[in-house]
Structures are given as C-alpha cells and as structure tokens.
Symmetry: C3
Subunit: 259 residues, 3 copies
C-alpha cells in the first residue's frame, strides 16, 4: 500500500487522525472515517446511491466508519451505512446502503451485504456470504462461507421477510436460510443445510431440509474430548473475554451489557 498520491477524497469527507488511504481509493462526500483507520487500495467508500446518478440535487446520506477500522483492498461501501469501531473487511466486500454494524465486526472477502441490515457487536462473516435486506443479527454471530440469507418467501414478490439470528449462533458453510427464520441464541447450523424452520436456543440443526439433530451440548471437541458448546467457554481469540473466564466476563459491566 502506498499511502500517498493517487487517491481521491471528497472535500466534504471527514478524515480522522492518522488515517491511511491506499492508492486508487475513492472517499466520497459525506463520509466520516474514524481515527487510526486504514482504507486500502482501490476501495470506494460512500458509493452514491443510484438515485444520485439521475438527480443531481440528491444528497447521499452520511457514512460513518468507526476508529481503528481496516477496510481491505477493493471493498465498496455505499453511502448511508454506519460501522462501529474496529470494523474489518476482506478484499472486495460489497456493502449496500443503510447497513448498521456494531463494533469489532468482520465482513469477509467478496461478501455481498445487500443493505437494510443490522448486526450487533463482534459478528464475523467469512467470505462469499450474501445477507439480504431486513435481516437482523445479534452479537457474536459467526457466519461461514457461501451462506445465503434469503428474504423473499415466494420469489418474485414484494414481501421481504428478513431472518433474525440471536447472540452467539454459528451458521455453517454453504447453508441457505429461507426467509423469516428465527435462529435462537447459541445455536449451530451444520454445513450445506437448507433451513426452513425456526431453530431454538442451544440447538444443532443440519441437513437439506435441516432437522434438529440435538442440543449443542452433545457436540464434543475432537481435540480435547470435551463438550465444545456453548463455544464461548472454549474460544476467546479477539473476543472481550480473551484470557479470562467467560463466566467471570459475564459478570463484568461489559458482560452485563450482552447478557
């Protein structure tokens, strides 16, 4: 990355302290980038809504990227989205308008976030994921590659029914989630599933169509031959309870906010 020369920043953009901007990057009007963030090469931040191409008076809404974010090369973020601090993208992610992400979220390489979605904090999306409009995600939801959240129950129609995934749930690679599904907290969807029914808290569902396999407590780690779920007791990398006990963290002021 060359943090110099050949990039474009709109005069109305607000760029924080110690922000680095890569070559060929384009920062549009009404964009605000937090301190210490990095916008890598070829990124487009604040991409105008289609309407502005046809209406010269249209004012694109404000786009806010929190501090300490890392927007990897080739990412396109439309105007009108808000991202908390420590936001990270993979290469060539595409995020449409009116998307809201909490802090410490990751949207991986070549994801397609279609806009009008809400993510909590510490959500991690691997690569090649499509999230359609109206979907809502809690905190600490991790989604694996090639997952699709659809929203039209009988396409094409004018009904858009988003799904709702609760805290700490995990969606396995290649799964398709049909419209309007509620996935409870701490649940786990197996790889390549077709989810057409709601999933209760702490349940593992899998298959095409997905069926309940068991409670997640019965999934054991291959490494240490103990139950792996609820996973926060066994995984903490980059998470607020890193190096502490999950139970102890839950009792802290921060943990209480997610309880």
């Amino acid at each position: 990355m060359r943090f110099q020369g050949n990039y474009y920043v709109s005069e109305s953009a607000i760029i924080g302290r110690n922000v680095k901007i890569g070559q060929n990057a384009i920062i549009h009007e009404n964009v605000e980038i937090g301190d210490d963030s990095i916008i890598c090469e070829n990124c487009i931040i604040g991409e105008p809504e289609s309407e502005s191409y046809y209406n010269g008076h249209y004012k694109n809404p404000r786009t806010v990227i929190g501090r300490n974010s890392l927007i990897r090369s080739g990412t396109i973020i439309y105007s009108g989205s808000i991202f908390g601090e420590h936001f990270t993208t993979g290469n060539m992610a595409s995020i449409r308008e009116n998307s809201k992400f909490g802090k410490n979220c990751v949207v991986g390489t070549q994801c397609d976030i279609q806009g009008d979605v809400v993510f909590g904090d510490y959500c991690r999306l691997n690569s090649h994921i499509q999230i359609s409009k109206k979907c809502i995600f809690g905190n600490f939801v991790f989604i694996y590659p090639f997952v699709v959240f659809t929203n039209d129950p009988h396409p094409p129609s004018n009904q858009l029914i988003g799904s709702n995934v609760k805290d700490f749930s995990q969606i396995g690679a290649g799964s398709v989630i049909l419209p309007g599904i509620i996935i409870g907290k701490h649940s786990f969807i197996g790889a390549n599933s077709l989810v057409n029914k709601n999933v209760d808290d702490f349940e593992l569902h899998s298959g095409n169509p997905a069926v309940k396999i068991c409670k997640v407590y019965y999934v054991w780690s291959k490494e240490n031959k103990r139950p792996h779920y609820p996973w926060p007791y066994n995984f903490d990398r980059g998470l607020p309870w890193e190096g502490k006990s999950f139970d102890d963290w839950l009792k802290t002021e921060e943990g209480q906010r997610y309880a």
Copy 2:
C-alpha cells in the same frame, strides 16, 4: 462518483450522449456505449481477450452496451458481448466474451458469466451466480444467489452441454443445475436443489436431488393466502405490465411478442 478526470477511454470507443464515466474506469477499443448510460468507478469495459495479449495484431470484437444502462463499480465486461438497453450490473460483476443479453436485464454483484451465453429480455440475476458457457435463457427468468449452471457432464471433458431455461422461470438460491437440463416455462426450482432431470412447464422441483413437488399453482402467498404462481399475476415491479393486468398486457402488441 466523480465524472471527470482520472479515467481512460480508447480513441476507437463510441460514447453516446450524456454518458457518465467514473473514476479509474477503463473503456477499451471497439466499445460502444449507448446514450444516457452510467459507467461507475473502476469498471473495465471491453476487456481484451487473452489472445490479444500475445498477438499484437489481434483485433478485439465489438462490445455494445445499450442506452440507459447502469454498470456499477468494479464490473469487468469482456470484448465481444452485446447488451440491450437498460442493462444493469451490480458491483464487481464479471462477464466474459460473446455474451448476449436482451433489454432490461440485471446481472448482480460478483456474478460470473463465463461467456457464450444468451439471455432474453427482463432477466434478473441476483448476486454470486455462475453461468457456464452454452446456456440459453428465455425472457423474465430470475435467478437467485449462489446458483450455478454447469455444462460439463463428466468433468473434465470436451463436451460442453448448456442448459435451457424457458420464460418466467425462477431458480432458487444455492441450486446447482447439472448440464443439459431443460427447465420449462413458469417453473420454480427450490433453494439448495441439485437439478439432474428436466423440469416441465409450471412445475416446482426441489431437493438434493430435486424431485417434482407439485404444479406451481399450489404454492400460495404467505401474505394474501392466494396462489402466487404464475407469478406475473402477482408481481409487476419494473416489468412491462406494471400497473396493468398481466392478461391485458399479453394482448398488447408488446405482450404478443413474448407470448
């Protein structure tokens, strides 16, 4: 989008009236862009065929984008393709040589059209779709995310057998269509299906492998508790019968052309 300055247009390109070209965009030789079209940032239009890299005398074939088109940022369109008016792409779509699209088609974000394909009018491809060579699509065919149309019956081989999808059919998210499948008109493929048999007109097929579930007439709208298919009676957004009765439109001169 900054419609000025830092882009490249070949001297042999023909740019219509009121065309806007975004920053870093590249319009190659022998490209023709219709009036009132918008080529967004970082797009490459008329990308040379590989042969031209090695043969300095190779002349890339003509690329034509119809009027009123919107080519979103990062899209790469190879030379030798033809697109009707009101063509739209999502971000970072890739369209290889010798693709033909009728009017009012949409190719969504990060789609991969491998070339040598034919689409009729008013086809809509959502995101992350792969269409392999030799596939043929009618009019008003809508394809949802992560669908793949394959073409090699026993890979790798030199046989390429495209599929053929008739008018008004809908292909659900995550489905894989095996080579040489014929999908009749007004049919509907459920999500995450593996389609290895032909599908008759007005049929719903679903599953891995897909089987006939029923005629589409039996799929009801969740919203109004009435049959939703054939869908043109219940959905008209952006379609030529918008605001009219589908039956009345079918009797018009335009409707007759699609009958």
Copy 3:
C-alpha cells in the same frame, strides 16, 4: 489493457523481460515477476500483510510469480506466496499470504484462497471457490465452482485441520468439504455434496451427506458411451500428455515424476 502510464511498481520489485503491466495495477515491494508475464488492470501484487500497516518496520515477505503467467484484472495477491510458471488467474481472484502453487495452475474468477495452502502442478480452480488454510492438493486436481474446503471442525475453535486431495481428483460444483478429509487419487465428488468421510482412490462419492456411489470406472461418457474415468485417458487439453497416449506419457521422464 494499456501497457503504459498509470500503474505503480515498487523500486524493490524485480520485473522480468517482456512483462506487461495494465493500468491502475500496483506491484508492491519485494515482488518478483517472471519473464513474459502479464499483469492486467487493477491488479495488486504483493499486497502487504496486515501487520505492516501497524508496524512501519515490518518487511513483507517475497512474492514470486513464475514466467509466462497471466494475472487477470482485479486480482489481489498478498505478499509471501509463490507461483510456478504459467500461472493464470481469473478476474478478481483473492490469494492470501503463504500460498504455494506449482506450475501451470489456474485460480478462477472471484476465488478466495485464504493462504497457508499448497497446490501441486496443473491444478485448475474454476470460479467462486474458497480454500481455507492448511489444505494440501496434489497434481492435476480440478475444482469446480462454489466449492468450499473448510478447516474448523467445530467452529469457532483454534483447531485448523486442512483436507488433503490426491492427484487427478475432481471436486464437483457447490460441494462442501468438511475439515480434515482425505480424498484419494482419481476420485470424483458429485455436485452439491457434503463430504464428511474420507474418499478412497478411484471412488465416486455424492450426496448430502456424501456416500460412496461406485468406483469411477462405472461412470460412462455420454458422448462416446465408454468409461470416462480415469479421465486422463479421455481428456488432455492443456495437459502434458496432450496429443499423446496418457500411458506413453507416464513412461516419459516427466510422467515418472508424477507417478
């Protein structure tokens, strides 16, 4: 492609003879590009590792692209990877650090190679494929679109268990390979499968979950009504036995190296 003007090459990059570099391309420090290679538009070669954004003294590892390579437009290759001669990418491929590819490999459009992987010679990846870390592939392995190789047996965890695919195997479109799977030589995974068990040499597995269907000898060509597998007896395009008998080639000095 304009092989002039508006691109950037680091002073420490080593560019071979007769290399062509497209517009807006960025060649970073410590990159070495072999003779007669083509780097198309908007490519980023030697993308810095994240650490270098925060540590000004961090030196990104060496990136080597062999001679006669063709890196198509929009591809992003991170520093620290090594590619043999005649390496080809599709558009907008993403290849992370510490990936090793032998000679004559292809990584298709919008693939996501997550790094720490090893491929032998003559591997061909179609479009939209995700290879996670720690996976190992032999020679002549062909992978079709939307395939995912996962590596975390109970996500999220700190265990990363790559899979291992042996020479001449074929992985069908849309399949998900669970972590730590061994796929024997000359095997074939059917489309849209979920592979959760090892696959022996010369076996066809298919389904969700995948089961053994038969030995590959029983899969016949639709064209000539003869067994198609082992496929090297029936397909040679671009392969070292092209125009010769596969058996004769196996006896050559080159063939012995792959025996």
